[in-house]
Symmetry: C2
Subunit: 334 residues, 2 copies
């Protein structure tokens, strides 16, 4: 038997412990073309909140009383696939449970000589790729332009800012504590950073962006997204990656309408999810791994130890407390 986490209630507003339930279920047996894997690391992500609602979105909602799934790194225990052998380390979208039976088509091997296994859930995984494609494909920062990123100390935001620096931009981060602000400037080399909890964001942006804003990488939505609008330059680009400030809203998300600002500046705003770029993941992973190895791209992980703390790690995301990518360590890699 093994432990598994199910969604048992659809959260109303911010998720709470009672929305989830641990249960004991049998460890499955792989059929032909399948492998049995032991979970090493689980990725906990803000976007999972959206899948807990019963509404159409870019990924289908989680079913009630079923196991939750997200990005996972796991090690092959038993393989009935010619593509995998025992002890291979793989990643894929798998369940929040200690063991999974996975079809060979939904997992891929990772190279832990390039980076530690957990990095495939952070800087070389979905969050790194989300930063890479949103910034470079939609944002397209040019040398000397100003790039503003919200949620800047988070896993996606910190990678966005560093890639923007690599591309020669003036980079301004928005985050929620002085500790994070200092981290962005002192450790990651951001040109400026704004603490939205203690500063007036609009005033601080005017000061930090004397040449206006060419790219705003949107991670949070809400009043911070509103504050950026009057500073947009002609032909500004806004990759819209997240709106965490609204994920737990029970009411409609109301704020400044963007139309007038977009017309004045001929600006572009585009939503995306990393899955839109699936055919280019190899390109992205290689570029990111190269920058990591050159020492140009740092990343932080907040690793919570033990499967029993998976729900806590997820709930912590909505308290704005974590620095870098939130990951749960479930077992050692052999």
């Amino acid at each position: 038997m093994q432990k598994q986490i199910k969604l048992v209630k659809r959260p109303v507003g911010t998720p709470v412990e009672e929305d989830f339930e641990f249960s004991q279920v049998p460890i499955g047996e792989p059929a032909e073309g399948e492998v049995l894997v032991r979970t090493n690391y689980i990725s906990v992500d803000p976007y999972l909140r959206g899948r807990m609602n019963d509404v159409k979105s870019y990924v289908p909602p989680f079913e009630l009383n079923s196991v939750i799934s997200s990005g996972v790194v796991a090690q092959v225990v038993e393989s009935k696939s010619p593509h995998f052998k025992e002890n291979d380390i793989v990643t894929g979208m798998l369940g929040w449970q200690e063991y999974s039976v996975a079809k060979e088509s939904v997992i891929r091997k990772i190279d832990t000589t390039l980076a530690p296994a957990s990095a495939y859930l952070s800087v070389l995984g979905m969050t790194g790729l989300t930063a890479y494609f949103g910034l470079l494909d939609i944002g397209q920062p040019k040398d000397g332009e100003t790039v503003v990123v919200s949620g800047a100390a988070g896993a996606v935001g910190s990678t966005v800012g560093q890639i923007a620096k690599i591309k020669g931009a003036h980079v301004v981060g928005i985050a929620g504590s002085d500790e994070k602000i200092n981290y962005l400037i002192d450790e990651l080399g951001f040109d400026a950073a704004i603490n939205y909890k203690t500063e007036d964001v609009k005033t601080a942006l005017y000061k930090a962006c004397p040449n206006g804003i060419d790219v705003y990488y949107e991670n949070v939505g809400g009043p911070i997204g509103d504050a950026v609008l009057p500073l947009l330059n002609k032909f500004a680009r806004i990759p819209v990656c997240g709106a965490i400030s609204a994920y737990n809203n029970e009411k409609a998300d109301i704020g400044r309408r963007v139309q007038g600002y977009l017309i004045k500046t001929s600006a572009l705003m585009k939503g995306f999810t990393v899955g839109d770029y699936a055919p280019r993941f190899k390109e992205g992973t290689e570029a990111l791994a190269g920058w990591v190895q050159e020492g140009k791209l740092q990343y932080e992980e907040t690793i919570t130890d033990g499967f029993d703390h998976t729900i806590d790690a997820f709930l912590d995301l909505f308290k704005g407390a974590n620095l870098g990518k939130a990951i749960v360590k479930v077992s050692e890699i052999d």
Copy 2:
């Protein structure tokens, strides 16, 4: 001497007659490289309201106590340019006055054998080109997709809908009277049309767009723009051309934040002004003229007779009364 219209007060909310003043000024003399023209037609447009505010926008604000300018068709009276001769018919951004002295670089000759001169202020002018580039460059409708256009009976909107039909789309218009609705369906071949004054727009859109919305050509903003958001399909495109509902707002324009909708659908929203496409105007004018001559593209003009009624014609734009492009006829072409 000649008559001229100046802006004497910056309008607060909806413009009123007292914001403008007629005055008598001398008819100028052309210098080398200039021509003297007699105004035949003046274009009155909603976007001019924006230029009456003292704020940075895509075009500079009008100066107080100076002549207002917009698109004009005029005939050359005296030429000191080798590129123009007496009686040539030209178009350009010129003043609201009976005669103008224009530099040769700011006007271009038009071919009145392709279409009547006034058409160069409507379907072959800025409004036609605004429809053409916004729809085809940003909206990119594909055969069988659903295109929704607001302000659908206006000069831009009616052209957008017809081009979308030419491209094989299912076309739904939103307008403000049953007369306009009937015109869109019976005369222009729209597949459906919604009267936002008598119908619940959201409910009507659900009915008119059974396959969701792939392209929303935004002319009005406000609650109509909000109502479209929940119906967007994956990879939807929103060319943002106008937000007339907000032009006269004295307060911030508040409504549904778009971020969450854009993320769910990977949708794109892009503001633009026709000037962004200046290098491609020849392509656009030729395509539009071709469709007009093939009978595939109809256009309406509301022509107000007499320079003295120019202000009335402008103020009427904000009453939603006009059908098609609003133009003032100032003098006959010889």
